[in-house]
């Protein structure tokens, strides 16, 4: 377990919410540029090579559904697509889009502590589908893990058997 995960797991509130996070690469300059072009410039085509990076790891995981991290409607309009959904689509799978956002605040403007102590930012639209299921949350970057853990916690509390997250890069 890395230092970041230890810190999370020591906090009782978060204990056991996320089974593990798998990140494929550390966030180097090249990776940064590719992901920025994909996500911020909106070059959807890059979802295919990026998804290929995820495929091998994903094939070794046991899961029932792939869950995308949602964007606020404003953010989704601005970008034109949700990068996490795009990656799942590029893997040839159907995203289980059961999470929606309650608040849509700019994460990047907050400190780590603020992000961690944020109240629940996600809402679940349908909990029947995930009862006793193994879920994998897919996203582009694992930064502090706060987003992923919020999502995992909610899914777990709503009846999911196991929640893992898989990201391309670790920031």
């Amino acid at each position: 377990m890395c230092f970041d995960c230890v810190r999370w797991e020591q906090d009782e509130k978060w204990f056991g919410s996320l089974k593990q996070n798998l990140s494929l690469v550390v966030y180097n300059q090249f990776c940064k540029e590719v992901i920025a072009r994909f996500k911020y410039r909106g070059d959807y085509q890059l979802s295919y090579p990026l998804a290929e990076m995820l495929r091998e790891k994903l094939d070794r995981l046991n899961y029932d559904f792939l869950v995308p991290i949602p964007l606020s409607p404003e953010r989704k309009y601005e970008r034109g697509f949700n990068q996490s959904e795009a990656l799942i689509n590029a893997l040839g799978r159907q995203p289980l889009s059961i999470l929606t956002r309650i608040h849509s605040e700019k994460q990047s403007k907050k400190s780590r502590n603020e992000r961690i102590s944020l109240p629940q930012v996600f809402q679940l639209t349908d909990s029947a589908a995930i009862q006793d299921k193994c879920l994998v949350i897919i996203d582009d970057i694992y930064t502090t893990g706060s987003t992923l853990r919020h999502a995992a916690k909610l899914l777990k509390e709503s009846g999911a058997k196991e929640v893992t997250s898989l990201t391309i890069a670790r920031g």
Binding site: R41, Y44, Q45, G80, N82
Partner: protein
Amino acid sequence: MRFIIKNSHLHPVFEKIQHSLPVTQIDSIPQPSPNPNFSFNEQLQQLLTGKQLLHDDLEHSIEEIHSHYENGYIQYRKPISYQNNKPFCVRCGNNQFFAHFPCSRCHEEDCAYCRHCIMMGRVSACTPLLTWSGPEFPLFKARNALKWEGQLSKGQEAASNAVKLTIIEQKELLVWAVCGAGKTEVLFNGINEALLFGQRVCIATPRTDVVLELAPRLKKVFPDTTVAALYGGSEDRHRPAQLIIATTHQLFRFYQAFDTLVVDEVDAFPYSKDETLQYAVQQARKSPSSMIYLTATPNKKWQAQCRSGKRNYMTIPARFHRFSLPVPEFTWCGNWEKLVEKQRLPNIVTRWLKERIDAGRQALLFLPKIAKMEKVLPIVQRLHTNIQAVHAEDPDRKEKVQNMREKKTLVLLTTTILERGVTFPNIDVAVLGAEDRIFTESALVQIAGRVGRSADAPTGNITFFHYGKTKAMVRAKKQIMNMNAEARKKGLIND
């Protein structure tokens, strides 16, 4: 965003309702005529005059922009057009690199977008290009905008007059000026004339460092004119200006903007190879407008057009300091690459370097590839300690060039990155492996043009070490000798 047509106007809608379409699929976009009573947003006028921007480029709301369309002050244009069912990006002219995606703006499963110009914001089938169609923002008309005390050489003066006439008559002209002729000054009188008419003028150049060098010079000689410097990441991006100095890439954001457009270094990469940049130049011109091309070495096609009278051109065959151009010496050096593998250099090259080093004279040594240069560097460094190497991706590039300038470096090894732009006052230059394909006629003329640049040290040696003479080498030498002959005939040189 999608549109429906109501009362022969477009109306934006944000859901996929009946009869609504992404802008690209609308047969012909209705354009309301300007409403003289509309009070328009002056900031939008400044930002959009002569431009083609996306909603994403502006901070204004979709509603505000749309009200300008409804009142005839903004034009919506299709961002992508189809020719024989093949997409074509109207902003950058790309017709090869497209992809599509399930779009949450237009809710189409396969919204097409251009991958070529995506770093300037995504042009997709549902993002209209926005252009100002109301009254242009007023420009300052100077009585005499030019404040310059300098003197033109005889060669410059002839070219300067030709530029001025071209601008008055709104024609096209190629100024073929040898390295060191002083081509920038040749533009001053013509630009002054254009500003006098209240025209919008742009100087486009392939490289950012040239923009950074030219902008302050032009601000100084046109102190009462608004001048903006545009390049990737520049702060002047939204500054309305009458005189714009820009990298050619920035022209993608302009549309029918300039009465006079100067394209610098037309022979240089990437302009010469990239058809989308040539498209951008044509898009940015008004009709009619004048066009001035500047180069030290036009390509073969243009040279042929000049000779056959198909292209209007003017030469400046002599340097500003009235000394002839140094003519390259060809020296066969055998299979130098094989020797380099054995950590050796051809004797004749070593001798050339040693002569400079012993005399304490600075030199540039050009090599065809980075990998080769890295192998040659330690061999040359055995001759002297103050020897460095530089290439395009070198993070210390600026510092190394500066060291050369300050004479801290005696010999600088370089790839073609230093072939143009950079000048050191008193140096000799050699090319090792001049037979390589990378050394085109134009590259070799530019490299030879590094020698003898200052009036205090107008001569120097230029040697092409080769393993087999190429046509490019022969043509480059011939071009230089022709220019010298022409200059001598016209009485433009003293030596």
